[in-house]
């Protein structure tokens, strides 16, 4: 008898990428994320959360790494569908990720809620950083998450 304990796989339905180099790229990028979110039928509240999270991360990328590449993917996992955003940069990297994820910590002069706040806005949050080589942040917002 077959067991139904197979782990659900994330399947990428649609892939899109965008290069971010200057502050003027932020608005078109946000619109692109929104388009993708609307396409999978995400509600307004989740759309806004996703866009805000995207906006935080893209601003971080511009501020600390001077830009990078963002992958926008529409994904499904079982019956859930969602948007996955992957931010890759070749910036200085983050020295202490757990410190950077703390509320109120900022190496710049910002409010210090960018990374921890972003994590609260999305369903899945993954950050990898090699000090001196760059940072990759990947977030997923499910349609009904």
């Amino acid at each position: 008898m077959m067991k139904m304990n197979q782990k659900l796989m994330k399947i990428v339905l649609n892939k899109d990428s965008m290069r971010i180099e200057k502050e003027q790229d932020v608005v078109p990028f946000r619109n692109r994320v929104k388009e993708n979110a609307v396409k999978i039928g995400m509600g307004v509240v989740n759309q806004t959360k996703l866009i805000t999270a995207a906006s935080e991360l893209v601003r971080n990328m511009l501020k600390y790494a001077g830009g990078g590449l963002v992958l926008i993917e529409a994904i499904t996992e079982g019956r859930d569908s969602g948007i996955r955003l992957t931010f890759q940069d070749k910036g200085p990297g983050i020295k202490d990720i757990s410190l950077a994820m703390k509320d109120g910590f900022s190496s710049g002069k910002s409010l210090g809620i960018g990374l921890p706040g972003t994590r609260r806005l999305v369903n899945e949050f993954d950050i990898k950083s090699i000090f001196g080589e760059g940072t990759t942040v990947s977030i997923i917002k499910w349609k009904n998450g």
Partner: protein, 287 residues
């Protein structure tokens, strides 16, 4: 590559120019409203002159050669001015592509030469002209980008009006994204207007701001703080339900700021602060 081919081209300059213009005029896309035929002829002739002067046996295969600097300059100037005049990419592209056709048409092909040499010659000319096309496109796009940047500046300037809604009350509808440059303009306008009008209440309406992230919030907090330093109270209105949820999740603390859902509510609050009362007039029933 034999130099007599280039010499032949140089000799046939007038013929090439005629052919080139004929091809350009024949194209349905030619914009006579944007450029007269005389102007077209002048530009074409200038470019062809420069090109034929610069070209020689050695540099035909080296498109990066400094000999072509003048050609590149003319071409860049032309495509930038075309981008600004509103020519389409197709029209700008045809200008260069049709030159290729005219050049190849007037190529002196020695019948005794073998096919291989002829093909090679054609390839070289092709490559040279393709490179010129690339230069044209690059500068065309750059020209267009300049137009966009100029418009962005204009939008920033016109999109931050400060409105006197009542004596002592200012309203400032913000539409679009609040970035650092924009905040600077908003703040300057607002603070200046507070001084000029002697207002004590300012309402910042963010109904038109698509997303409030921590940077936007930081800018808002700064604007409110600056307004308070000037002795005025600042109210933020136009907070949509989804924005409210996002701000809470993000962990931005706006509790020190008076916020209202709509501009109308903010105005009501402002009236209360100024001890003003808005009432419906009761018609006295005549006895």
């Amino acid at each position: 590559m034999k130099s007599d081919i280039i010499k032949g081209l140089q000799k046939k300059k007038n013929q090439i120019l005629e052919d080139w213009i004929t091809i350009q005029v024949a194209d349905a896309g030619l914009r006579e409203d944007l450029m007269s035929n005389d102007e077209l002829r002048e530009q074409s002739s200038e470019l062809l002159d420069a090109l034929l002067k610069a070209i020689n046996d050695k540099n035909i295969i080296n498109i990066e050669s400094p000999d072509f600097e003048q050609v590149h300059e003319i071409l860049a100037g032309l495509s930038i001015s075309r981008a600004r005049q509103g020519f389409s990419p197709r029209e700008t592209g045809i200008f260069v592509y049709s030159l290729k056709e005219a050049l190849l048409k007037n190529l002196d092909i020695d019948q005794t030469e073998d096919v291989k040499t002829t093909v090679e010659t054609i390839f070289k000319i092709n490559r040279l002209l393709d490179n010129l096309s690339v230069v044209t496109f690059e500068t065309y796009i750059k020209g267009r980008e300049e137009v966009i940047l100029r418009q962005t500046d204009e939008i920033t300037e016109i999109s931050t009006p400060v409105i006197r809604v009542w004596e002592g009350i200012l309203a400032l509808p913000i539409i679009g994204t609040l970035d650092s440059a924009r905040t600077q303009v908003v703040m300057e306008n607002l603070l200046q207007e507070i001084v000029e009008s002697g207002s004590t209440i300012a309402i910042l309406d963010i109904s038109g701001v698509p997303a409030v992230d921590s940077l936007v919030a930081q800018h808002l907090i700064k604007t409110v703080a600056a307004t308070r330093l000037m002795g005025a109270e600042c109210i933020i209105s136009g907070i949509r339900p989804e924005i409210a949820q996002t701000v809470v999740h993000l962990g931005i603390d706006l509790s020190n700021i008076v916020t209202k859902a709509t501009l109308a509510n903010a105005l009501k609050y402002a009236f209360a602060l100024l001890k003003l009362d808005v009432r419906k007039i009761q018609n006295k029933v005549s006895q």
